[in-house]
Symmetry: C2
C-alpha cells in the first residue's frame, strides 16, 4: 500500500481507478440520494414492530437489483439480510454490518418535517433513520455499486449483514452469527454508525460500550386513589421508586450499587495518549446543549467518562398524571426505564444481578426486568488493518481522523470480536448534529457523499494489505 | 325540634310530611336517575376545559325549569351558578355548595363502560362525575324539588351555589364569594361530596384538609440526547429530579422541608375522642387496595395521619420515554407534579415558600410553579347546627353516622368558614367504592336515594332550630 492508501495509480491515462470511482459517485449523487430517501420513507420502528418487515423486503429487492447474492433469514425478531459479492480469488473478505431498524420518532411535534417523509433542507436529508443507520449502510452499498460500475468487479470479497433489531439491543444477532459462522467468515468487520467527531473532524473507532436495559415497576394500591381521601397512610409507589433510584447513584454521578464497577478495566497507556489527542472544547459542548456544567467525578476527563466509565442512565420515568392542570391522585404504579452503558470487561448479566440484588434487598416487591443486554467490545488500535481505515478517511477528508479507542454508544460489535473472532473497525459517516435518537434526525449531503467515497477507498486499501 | 328531628308529625291522617316526601322520592326515583344521567353524559373536565361551559348551560336550564331563581356569573374560570328558592319569612338560610366540573377520565382503557356514557350495572350508576360531584349535588336539588312537589314550598331559605373549577383547586371561588357576600349570606353552609365511611356507615364531617399543588420542571440538555454518545459527562435531569425529590421526604414518610410542619395544630381532646370511635379494620383496607403495609410514622393512627397530618404526594412523574421496548435517551426535561394536603393552621402560600426555598437552595435552575392552593377549614363538632345533620342521617340510615373532625380530601370549605364566617357541615352521600378520581367512578342507586332523603330531612330539621 502506498503512503496515500491509493492502490491503483496510473490507469487510464494518469487518472487512477479510485479517481474514476469518485467521479462516478459525484455524478450519481442524485440517484443515491433518491434511493436513500426511498429507504427512509419506509418506517421500520423495531420498538413497536412498525414496518420493519416491509423494510426488509424493500432492501432485499434493492440489493438483488444491484447484483448481490441476497439471502434473508428469519430470526426471533426481524429478518437478518446477508448480501454477498465476490472479489478476486485469495483476496481478503470484509464483513460490512448495518441495521435497518430505527428509533421511535416521538416526540412528533418536535419534527420540522414528518419523520418518515424524507425532506432535503439546507444541504441535509431529514428523516428518522437518515443517519442512524440507513444513510450510513446505504453509503457502503452505493460505494460497492460505484466500484462495480466503474471496474466491473470488486477488489475484495464483500459480505453485507443488515439486521432489524439493533435499536432493541440486537437480542438475536449473536445467535444468528453463531448459527451462520461459516457463511459470515471474514478477515475484518467494518461498520459505519454514529456521527463523526463534534469538532467536524472525521473519526475512526476501535470499540464500543455495551448496554444493559432494565425496566423497574413498583406497584402501589391496585388502582389510582384520591390523594386526599387516602394520602398519608396509603403508600405511594412514586415515592418508593424515587427512594430506590436515589439509593443507586449519588448526586456526583457515582453508582452506589455493590459490585457495579468490579470488572471495569482502566485505559491503557496507549489509549490515554489517544484520549489526550481528541479535540474538546467544553464551552462549545455546553453551549450546544445549553447546559451549565458536566456530570460525574471532576478528576475524569470528558472522554474518559464517555469511553471508560459505565453509566447508569434514567431514560424513562412515569407515574400518575403528567398532563396540564391538576389531577390529585395517589398513583397505582411507578415505572423507571434504566439504560446502563458498560465498558470492557463488564458483563450485562453480571451487572444485572448486582442491580437486582441491590434493589430487591431494599424492596422485595419491586419488579426488575432485563430488557436488553449487549457486551462491550474492543479492537487494538495498532492492528494491521487499522491503517486501511485511517488512510481512507484521511484521503477523502483531506485531514487525519480523530481516533476513538471506544464509542460512547453501543453497537453489537462484540459479535464480531468475540463470536467471529475478527478485528472490528468503526468508521462513522454522519455529521455531528445528526440528531440520532432525537427529533429532526438528518445526514448532510456532503457527509453522505464522503461516506460513499471513504468506503470505496477503504475497499481498495484493504485489498492491498492482502489476506 | 323533636328527639327524632321530625318537625311535622301528624299531618294527613297520621302520616307526617316527611314520610310523604320520602314516598314521593321513592316513586320518582327513575326520573331522578334519568336527570342525573343527562348531567353525567355532559363532559365537564375543567383540567382541559372540555364541555364545562356546556354543562353550566345545561344546569341553568334544569334549575330554572324547577322553579329556582337562577343567576350565572362569569368568573376567570368557568361560570358560577347561584340558584335560590325562598322559605317562610324569618326562617334560617342554608347555602348548599356543589361542583359540576369533573376529573379527567384517564386511563380510558380501565373503564368498563365509557366515562361519559352513564351506565347502570348491579345497582350503580357508572360515569365520570357520578359521585364526584354531580350525583351528590343533584341529590340536594332532587330533595328540594320533592319537598316543593309535596308541600308547595320549602321550610327554609335555600341558596345553591355550583362552581366549575373545584377539580382545579377552586382558584376563583374565594373571589366570587368576596364579591357576592351579600347575595350568598346564610346561616350555615351544607356540602355533600366524597364517599361515606369505608365501613358502609354514613358520615358527617366538620372540616377538610387544604391543598397546595406544585409543578416541578427540571431542564437538562436542550433536546433528548443519545444516552450512549453523551451519557456520563452530560447531566440527566431525571437523576437531578430524583435527588431533589428524595431530599424532600424520608423513606418513613416524614417531610424534610424546613418549616413544613410549623403551623400544624394537633387534634383537641374532643377530636381525639371522636377519632377513637371511627371504625377501622386495617386488614380490610389493605386487602381492598392490595397493599401490604401503611405509610408514615408508626405512632400515629390511620385517621390521625389522614386528618391531622399534612402529606407531600407525588401525583405525577414524567421524563423521557416510558413506552414498550427500549429507547436509550438522555431526556431533556423531567417533570414532577406534587400535591400537598394541608391541615389547620397551615397556609398554602407559606408552605409553598418553604418548599420553594428548600428546592432552589439545592438547585437554582429548577422551575417551581404553584398550580393551586386551598386553605384547610374546621367547624366545631359541638356547634348547635351539628345535630340537624347528624339526626337527619341517623333517621334515613337507621343508624348514627360516623363523625369525622376532618376530611382527608379538600373542598373549598374555608370560603364559608373564613370568608362568609358561617359554620360548615359536610354530609357525604356516595358509596365507599365510589372510585372518585379513578376509573369506573359510580354512585349506588341506594346511596343516591338516601342522599335525597337526608337532604330533605335536614332541611326540615334545620327549619326547626330557627335562626
Amino acid at each position: 500500500m502506498s503512503d496515500s492508501g491509493l492502490p491503483l495509480k496510473g490507469e487510464r491515462g494518469g487518472m487512477d481507478k479510485l479517481e474514476q470511482v469518485y467521479q462516478y459517485i459525484d455524478s450519481n449523487q442524485t440517484k443515491f440520494v433518491e434511493e436513500l430517501c426511498t429507504l427512509i420513507a419506509q418506517p421500520s420502528v423495531s420498538a413497536r414492530d412498525e414496518g420493519v418487515n416491509d423494510c426488509a423486503h424493500l432492501l432485499e429487492s434493492m440489493l438483488s437489483g444491484m447484483g448481490f447474492r441476497v439471502a434473508t433469514f428469519p430470526t426471533h425478531g426481524h429478518p437478518a439480510i446477508v448480501a454477498e459479492m465476490d472479489g478476486p480469488k485469495d483476496s481478503p473478505t470484509v464483513l460490512i454490518y448495518g441495521h435497518y431498524d430505527v428509533q421511535p420518532p416521538e416526540p412528533l411535534e418536535m419534527w420540522k418535517s414528518p419523520p418518515f417523509t424524507p425532506t432535503i433542507r439546507e444541504g441535509r436529508i431529514y428523516g428518522r433513520g437518515a443517519g442512524d443507520n440507513k444513510g450510513q449502510f446505504y453509503a457502503q452499498i452505493a460505494a460497492i455499486s460505484s466500484i462495480t460500475a466503474v471496474s466491473g468487479g470488486l477488489p475484495v470479497n464483500v459480505k453485507v449483514l443488515l439486521e432489524g433489531d439493533e435499536e432493541q439491543g440486537s437480542p438475536y444477532l449473536a445467535d444468528f452469527l453463531r448459527e451462520h459462522r461459516e457463511q459470515l467468515k471474514a478477515d475484518l468487520a467494518y461498520t459505519s454508525d454514529a456521527p463523526i467527531h463534534s469538532s467536524g473532524r472525521p473519526l475512526v473507532i476501535f470499540g464500543v460500550r455495551g448496554l444493559l436495559c432494565i425496566d423497574l415497576n413498583l406497584r402501589g394500591p391496585n388502582r389510582d386513589l384520591h390523594s386526599g381521601n387516602y394520602g398519608g397512610p396509603v403508600p405511594n409507589p412514586a415515592w418508593g421508586l424515587v427512594h430506590l433510584l436515589a439509593s443507586m447513584k449519588d448526586a456526583e454521578g457515582n453508582v452506589l450499587v455493590e459490585g457495579f464497577y468490579d470488572d471495569v478495566v482502566p485505559p491503557t497507556l496507549a489509549e490515554r495518549e489517544v484520549l489526550k489527542r481528541i479535540p474538546f472544547d467544553p464551552q462549545e459542548v455546553q453551549k450546544s446543549f445549553e447546559i451549565s456544567r458536566f456530570e460525574g467525578p471532576e478528576h475524569l476527563s470528558y472522554y474518559e467518562k464517555l469511553m471508560f466509565r459505565p453509566t447508569l442512565n434514567i431514560c424513562g420515568l412515569s407515574s400518575g398524571y403528567s398532563g396540564g392542570g391538576v389531577k390529585t391522585i395517589l398513583p397505582s404504579t411507578a415505572l423507571a426505564k434504566l439504560d446502563i452503558r458498560l465498558v470492557v470487561n463488564q458483563d450485562p448479566d453480571r451487572v444485572f444481578e448486582c442491580v437486582k440484588r441491590h434493589l430487591l434487598s431494599l424492596c422485595p416487591d419491586l419488579e426488575v426486568k432485563k430488557i436488553a443486554g449487549v457486551l462491550p467490545s474492543k479492537t487494538a488500535i495498532d492492528h494491521r488493518y487499522a491503517q486501511c481505515a485511517v488512510d481512507a478517511v484521511a484521503r477523502v477528508w483531506g485531514e487525519p481522523p480523530v481516533v476513538f479507542p471506544t464509542l460512547g454508544g453501543t453497537l453489537p460489535d462484540y459479535v464480531f470480536t468475540r463470536i467471529l473472532g475478527v478485528p472490528s473497525i468503526l468508521v462513522p459517516y454522519a455529521n455531528p448534529e445528526e440528531n440520532n435518537h432525537s427529533p429532526n434526525e438528518n445526514i448532510s449531503l456532503d457527509c453522505f457523499n464522503k461516506g460513499i467515497k471513504v468506503c470505496a477507498t477503504f475497499l481498495y486499501n484493504f485489498a492491498s494489505t492482502g489476506k
